[in-house]
Symmetry: C2
Subunit: 240 residues, 2 copies
């Protein structure tokens, strides 16, 4: 049995990605008893929070003050609810600015990395994000991008995951860091995480060109929008 | 643009596994516009439904009558809320008995396969489930177990996934079956599903013996409990 509890605070907001939260939450929760790892959802205004996919989560906990033993896991998102987090009054970024430095580990998956960066938590660190948003992450001063499309990157107490499903690999690595590899392998076995996708289209270098092309036609404007949002955030910050 | 909508009904119940639902929901939702695949959650009594990991989902839709074009995706679970589904008055199993035969495709992940079997939907089919519960699935008359620990198994219009995270691979295969591989690869790329777990402990044959041993010590009684529940269900059915 664990001798102490490591609470992993997962802040959610409108338009968070459901898999960014649920995959890691499942992995962490698996070792709640064996490793003392305790994931909790929290949000600015407790109540129903609608994810990007339209499902409503009932979240009871307000974003808490953090003790040193806590870890933060920031999920990515997309759409207006995500973009709004970068406004000057965005409560999540302000919480990250205030509480992030008190957290034992600061983690993200997917576009959650851009929120960490907006909270000033990635300056001087190497990090990764969803393959499509690496350029946007690189706009933040002092953030070094990990090369390629890693599933996660660990730089001291910062653990950042790649896009969406990367959260499964990143959360297992995080369990190993927070406790040990025995607990991480236990979580992997329970969740039968021996992945074998029926296709090999998970990154822009392995996806067939026509798949990547159709993705960029549909999602290209989204990327531009994220870069505009980040540029506006940085400009406001410079002016502030 | 798709010419028709394929609604995938995902019935949830107390103690469903969050990753069994969220991973496939994310994959399906990704191709909502391109493939006309529309995942929806439904439940016996609409309102808050608490998953195995303790998170509350707000589910508005009651278990619907199914048109032929619909598919069913039954998630697994564990704990009392899952066991209760096998009682003679379990609304989900009764819904599966009535509506399952009207569904175009009948799918599951993890211990959801046992619910399909209880609904009489796997007799005469080859199927799979979480590695730990294959024996329990094999107790249902007429169900043939796929050998090994496949991520999913397709037998005519039945698609059954292995344990928990298998739902990611199974849902991509399901997208390919319901529409085409182009849409499946699009979902894979968007969700950056190029998995690379930091350990190789995802099945009982690859996990180190000490990990498997500790799993069986903790989870062994759970397996026994599922087998008891299935035995009682089959006995009641025989008596009915």
């Amino acid at each position: 049995m664990p001798t102490s509890i490591t609470r992993i605070v997962i802040p959610v907001y409108r338009d968070f990605d459901i898999l960014d939260v649920s995959g890691p939450f499942a992995m962490f929760n698996t070792v709640r008893d064996t490793a003392g790892i305790s994931p909790v959802l929290a949000t600015d205004q407790p109540g129903l929070v609608t994810c990007l996919q339209g499902i409503e989560f009932n979240v009871a906990l307000a974003l808490p003050a953090l003790a040193f033993s806590d870890a933060i896991w920031v999920p990515g998102g997309f759409g207006q609810g995500y973009f709004d987090q970068f406004s000057s009054s965005g409560p999540l970024v302000n919480w990250l600015k205030t509480e992030g430095p008190n957290a034992g580990y600061v983690c993200s998956v997917c576009t959650g990395a851009l929120l960490l960066a907006a909270g000033g938590l990635l300056a001087g660190y190497t990090a990764t994000t969803h393959w499509q948003f690496q350029q946007a992450l690189g706009m933040f001063p002092g953030v070094r991008l990990a090369s390629g499309y890693p599933r996660y990157w660990i730089d001291r107490n910062r653990i950042t995951g790649g896009g969406v499903s990367s959260g499964l690999d990143a959360s297992l690595a995080t369990i190993a860091v927070l406790s040990n590899s025995t607990n991480a392998m236990y979580a992997q076995l329970l969740n039968q995480y021996a992945p074998r996708p029926p296709f090999d289209a998970g990154t822009p270098v392995t996806a067939p060109p026509e798949i990547l092309g159709s993705f960029l036609r549909i999602f290209g404007p989204g990327t531009t929008q994220v870069e505009k949002v980040v540029a506006a955030f940085l400009q406001n910050q410079g002016a502030g």
